[in-house]
Amino acid sequence: MKPEYSPTELLIVLAARLFEDNTSAFIGTGIPMLAASLARKLYTPNLVPIFEFGGVGSQLRHLPRAVGEARTFDRAVWAAGICDIMETAQRGLVEYGFLGAAQIDPYGNLNTTVIGSYDRPKVRLPGSGGGNDVGSLCWRTVILMKHEVKRFVERVDFLTTVGYYRGGDTRYTEAGLPRGSGPFRVVTNLAVLGFDDETKRMKLLALNPGVTVDEVVKNTGFELLIPDEVGENPPPTEEELRVLREEIDPEGFYLTTTEGRILDIVTCTATDSQPLTVAVHRNRRGEIVAVLACDRADTPAACQALCPNL
């Protein structure tokens, strides 16, 4: 019996399987955080997560929700600043980087700035953020994308992060980026893709469960290299899904496949007739499933005792 999983869970699992142990990886918000957490639990226990604003080697006991928050340096070996981190990458010490984008071209060039023209954009996107630095300075960048024709385009509207530039060696010889660095994999909801060694054009490597080559081609807005042998990505295992849902994101902050434990802060009138402020978890139906803390007692049980109706 195959386990059920969401497209997000599939992406996380495929990404988690790409790491090599005892290396470092730039971790951005969202899927990379879950993938790194999963990889550390199941495959690469010594993977060192690096967060751009300074956290290095967090033990990831709690899933971060932002790249600068305390969870990114919780029990870390080093809490630095952004320059020191970016320079560590510039020196060549960060192996992996993860990037998302609104558009990607055949050479892995990315756009996260605008759709349309820069001066009169149809859609203003968030901008480079650390993306360009990650894509420029890490050895291997892994790009996470929704596989759609409007996203896999012949030419990006704005080149935010250089991939293999105009193909071949031009990333190094023309753009001037560090030798040997560049896009490694593109992981989508349909497939895992790579790049041709010579031309550096994108090529299909392995199909996601139940996806056909035709489907991938149809959803790609440029000519994709299709090798004779195309692999198949094994679906998420029960183990992968269990760890992901129960150990990594039990709160359902990123995953929608769990009951959810959504933080809320409420006020009740306590047994002493004074107001009590209480942090609780609600499930997706809005029901309170746990009391976490309150302002006038030290333990959840004591909080509960003060407001038994919670």
Partner: protein, 318 residues
């Protein structure tokens, strides 16, 4: 696309300015948000914040800045609430932009509206580039060479030069230094003179503090100078860089403060819901920014000290 630099790379003028305006006198600089903003921020200033809105960000200063309605501001960098408030209030006319968005919550509807309507001039940089531009100013040199941004279209929007280095022929971008008229930083503790300490990551506080003509810091706690002198290696910002010290406990709310309190997730969810529309955005500003006249009134408005106490029980501890 344009090539004008919004912020100044003129480190020679910066030298003169610092000599004439900064003092090594050990004088107390404690003041309210109101006084700090009205004394040290002016219409047209080019400003920058550290770190960002859900992490150690001087939000009580940002709200006061919006309240006082300083106009025609230039803004450096990435941002969430701290930049979006200013954009939504129509106070910004130029921006060196790296990222405006809400991470897991997605794009910023405010940035989209403002930029898509052409209401602000922008130039594009990476996060690293922004921090390195501050670093160049902090070093007192007009530029800094880096290997980021090479080949990207961002160079067409921001006027940065590219060269081959004379020693090895390596290609580098020469990022222009950027001197801020006013910098804003929130810290864990400071003494009344402005000597400041930060726990956990330092973000780009070191660089921004040194790249600012005027520097306003807010602090969770005001400590005795003897505490500073006992561990001088923990000073991240020395007092002579600082013009104003504002005591702002929970000053990063609705963001977090490492080891002290967690971010206010329910408040952020409500905020994200409200800013979907222009009307909701203005309503949020009315209720939470213009409405409360002080940081204390803001804290009351968002749930009072009891809620703050609860948040302080939720974050990561040492």
């Amino acid at each position: 696309m344009q090539h004008e630099l919004f912020g100044s790379p003129d480190v020679e003028a910066f030298r003169q300015w610092l000599r004439e305006n900064k003092s090594f006198e050990l004088k107390e600089k404690l003041m309210s948000e109101q006084e700090a903003i009205s004394r040290f921020v002016h219409d047209g200033d080019y400003i920058g914040f550290e770190l960002y809105a859900t992490v150690r960000c001087p939000m009580s200063l940002v709200r006061e800045l919006v309240r006082q309605g300083k106009r025609n501001l230039g803004v450096l960098g990435q941002g969430l609430q701290e930049v979006d408030f200013l954009l939504a209030a129509g106070l910004v006319n130029r921006m060196d932009l790296t990222y405006v968005g809400y991470e897991v919550y997605g794009l910023s509807p405010i940035l989209r509206r403002v930029v898509e309507q052409g209401r602000v001039k922008t130039a594009e940089w990476s996060n690293g580039a922004i921090a390195w531009r501050l670093k160049a100013a902090a070093m007192g040199v007009p530029f800094i060479p880096v290997r980021s941004m090479l080949g990207s279209d961002m160079l067409k929007t921001n006027g940065a030069h590219v060269m081959k280095d004379p020693y090895t022929g390596t290609q580098v971008v020469l990022l222009p230094a950027i001197v801020l008229d006013v910098g804003f930083i929130h810290v864990h503790r400071a003494d009344p003179y402005g000597n400041a300490q930060i726990d956990g990551i330092s973000g780009f506080a070191v660089e921004l503090a040194r790249a600012s003509k005027r520097l306003i810091i807010s602090a969770e706690e005001i400590v005795d100078p003897e505490e500073i002198r006992r561990y001088p290696e923990r000073t991240v910002i020395p007092y002579f860089l600082v013009d104003a010290v504002v005591h702002a406990p929970f000053g990063s709310h609705p963001g977090e403060m490492a080891y002290l309190y967690d971010r206010d997730e329910p408040h952020l969810r409500m905020y994200m819901e409200m800013i979907r529309t222009e009307e909701g955005t203005q309503q949020y500003l009315e209720e939470y920014v213009y409405g409360p006249k002080t940081h204390e009134e803001y804290i009351e408005k968002v749930g009072g000290w009891g809620r703050m106490k609860v948040l302080s029980k939720l974050g990561v501890k040492r």
